[in-house]
């Protein structure tokens, strides 16, 4: 397929016109005599996916699951022992407890519920909430802290650990930077507007910056209108209740983010869960919903909305958008796509999963995303048809009650988006997107070759590396920090109990040397901690095998 973004003399032509021309040239199949500009339904080869969609979810050998449960079993036994000692006064209690006078009242703190937190999480707590003291770019500085009583309290030694390679921050395009030239416009806006807005959107908090930003977001995504909010989590949790209510049906993916789950529960609609990225499961649910209607009255559902994410941050999997859109059209449901991790990170020009699959943004009813991950700012947006956005401006809880985005942050998003679209006259944006894609492919390929179990799609910059055993979670994070690499490890409540993992976020700002440092450290640590469980690892030197074959043929 011809590359639609032509770069000429370092200046980027606006590629919309060119893309349309290319499509018309390649001969779009006309449906009912109407050619829709960007739509690619019924393209000549007839398949839904235009490029290969490879996802890995390899299962570890059985002994790993057995040993994981063994580890949790030992931890649980010792947890009971410690709780017993705490209850009988043989050990000091460090958690919240009621006062003596309140012992006869209804208990405030149910001891058993926090069993896991008290007995397992506390032992490895030093790997989370590490305070950083620099910009979270490709390298950052950490404040060193030590604990005297096994992680119940910490104290800072006063030293900072400098230039730790950052494999945990959501800095996909590298816009978290402190370069003075890059932040020139942000500084100007800061001096012009100050930092606070001191009002909500509906009262006196709509600034010209917000209007400018919303127009730019709409242009970037190729939709009619957009609305921005100050906080990404609040965008989901406050706007879903505005869109659906009682009598509506929400079909939500198994592994959706907490903000989507919270928004769905707040709305009061009926929620049904389908298996992760499984379109057969979704189709079954859709058919049942339409055939049987609402539970007791058997009336038709007022609305059926499907909640999915672009990239799932714990799995690294990408949503199966083409199948999803064809399903939604067949059963006449609405689609809400949360592109928190995918906007800016996938797609040929960084416009998210809609562009990654070469689809039109008209196919998705509600496009939602956040500016936290790829744009180095904070906040979220909802984009779509003008009617939808106008409705949300009046009916969203966030618009009525939440403080609007502050102007310097809005300016940071504007400059990042302009850079991505090429409107600032350079090709830096496109270079960042391509660098991210290159880094992602390299990192994932090397990790597969080394023999680790990696989940997710080959093109997703979120790379979860499976650790499985609870003892290894703490060991992995601590040893990586000793090697000056900062990683994020995730354990039980956020992931299934046997599948704890380390999650790497590749960034466009990472150089090849940084990635190689990290990969060598991972290789060493993988051998020491015995993490290379994959049974399908490819050889890292295929050319050697080629040579021997040639010799034999002689």
């Amino acid at each position: 397929m011809a590359n639609p973004s032509a770069v000429c003399n370092g200046h980027l032509h606006h590629h919309h016109h060119q893309k349309q021309n290319n499509l018309l040239k390649s001969g779009i199949y006309k449906k009912n005599g109407i050619t829709k500009g960007m739509k690619k339904n019924g393209v000549s080869n007839g398949t839904l996916y235009k490029k290969t969609f490879i996802e890995h979810f390899e299962q570890a050998p059985m002994y790993v699951a057995v040993l994981t449960f063994l580890g949790f079993g030992v931890g649980t036994i010792f947890g009971y022992l410690r709780d017993f000692m705490r209850a009988w006064g043989l050990e000091k209690r460090n958690i919240a407890a009621e006062r003596e006078e309140q012992k006869d009242f209804v208990p405030l703190y149910q001891d058993f519920e926090n069993f896991y937190t008290r007995n397992l999480y506390m032992r490895i707590r030093d790997n989370w909430n590490r305070p950083i003291c620099s910009v979270p770019g490709p390298q950052f500085d950490l404040m060193e802290r030590v604990t005297d009583d096994y992680n119940w309290t910490f104290r800072f030694t006063g030293r900072t650990i400098k230039n730790v390679i950052n494999m945990g921050s959501y800095n996909y395009l590298g816009f978290a930077e402190t370069d003075v030239n890059a932040l020139k416009t942000v500084t100007i806006e800061l001096q012009k507007y100050g930092t606070g807005v001191c009002s909500t959107r509906q009262e006196m908090g709509t600034l010209d910056k917000h209007v400018e930003l919303e127009k730019l977001v709409a242009k970037f995504l190729g939709v009619e209108d957009a609305m921005v909010f100050g906080m990404g989590f609040a965008t989901n949790s406050m706007n879903i209740p505005a869109l659906v209510g009682k009598g509506c049906l929400i079909l939500s993916d198994e592994l959706n983010h907490t903000s989507l789950v919270l928004g769905a529960r707040l709305s009061g609609a009926t929620i049904r869960i389908f298996k992760h990225n499984n379109m057969q499961s979704l189709e079954t649910l859709l058919r049942d919903a339409i055939i049987y209607g609402q539970p007791r009255s058997r009336r038709a559902w007022r609305k059926i909305i499907i909640l999915v994410e672009g990239i799932y941050s714990m799995e690294g999997s990408i949503v199966r958008l083409p199948e999803l859109v064809s399903l939604k059209k067949k059963y006449k449901a609405y689609l809400y796509l949360d592109e928190a991790h995918s906007i800016g990170a996938v797609g040929a020009t960084g416009r998210g999963v809609v562009e990654y699959f070469d689809m039109s943004p008209d196919d998705v009813d509600v496009l939602m995303g956040t500016f936290t991950k790829s744009f180095g700012a904070a906040g979220g947006y909802i984009a779509g048809k003008k009617d939808l956005v106008d409705f949300l401006r009046t009916h969203s809880h966030s618009a009525v009650y939440a403080t609007s985005m502050c102007p310097p942050v809005a300016e940071q998003i504007i400059r990042a988006m302009k850079c991505l679209m090429g409107l600032d006259g350079t090709t830096q944006g496109l270079q960042r997107v391509r660098q991210l894609a290159k880094n992602t492919r390299y990192f994932r390929r090397r990790l597969h070759e080394m023999g680790f179990i990696i989940y997710g799609n080959d093109d997703s910059p979120v790379v979860p590396l499976l650790l499985y055993m609870p003892g290894k979670i703490g060991a992995f994070a601590r040893r990586m920090l000793e090697k000056n690499i900062g990683v994020v490890v995730v354990g039980f409540p956020a992931t299934p109990i046997t599948e704890s993992r380390a999650r790497f976020c590749v960034s466009a700002a990472h150089t090849r040397e940084m990635l190689d440092t990290v990969l060598n450290a991972l290789d060493e640590l993988g051998d020491f901690l015995h993490l290379k469980y994959s049974r399908y690892s490819k050889s890292s030197h295929p050319e050697l095998y080629e040579e021997t074959r040639l010799e034999l043929e002689d």
Partner: protein
């Protein structure tokens, strides 16, 4: 040099044991308790094996020998 690599291999095995059984996360007194329990259990198992298993094996061997021995005599008498 061989001793060194054996030592480091044994240390690596010990580290694996620590990680798998979560004793890496335990405080020193908990580790002491855990290892004492494990070593006691292992010692008891080995002692039981030493005392009883060989006696059981011997008697089982005798039983099977007796069984096959009888059969052999019977076949010899028929052929005759």
């Amino acid at each position: 040099m061989d001793i060194k690599s054996t030592k480091s291999y044994l240390y690596w095995l010990y580290c694996q044991f620590e990680l798998i059984t979560c004793s890496y996360l335990m405080e020193p007194w908990e580790k002491l308790l855990f290892y004492t329990f494990n070593i006691t259990m292992l010692a008891t198992a080995l002692y039981t094996a030493y005392v009883f298993v060989s006696a059981h094996l011997c008697s089982a061997f005798q039983f099977f020998l007796h069984l096959f021995g009888n059969q052999h005599e019977n076949t010899v008498s028929v052929v005759k």
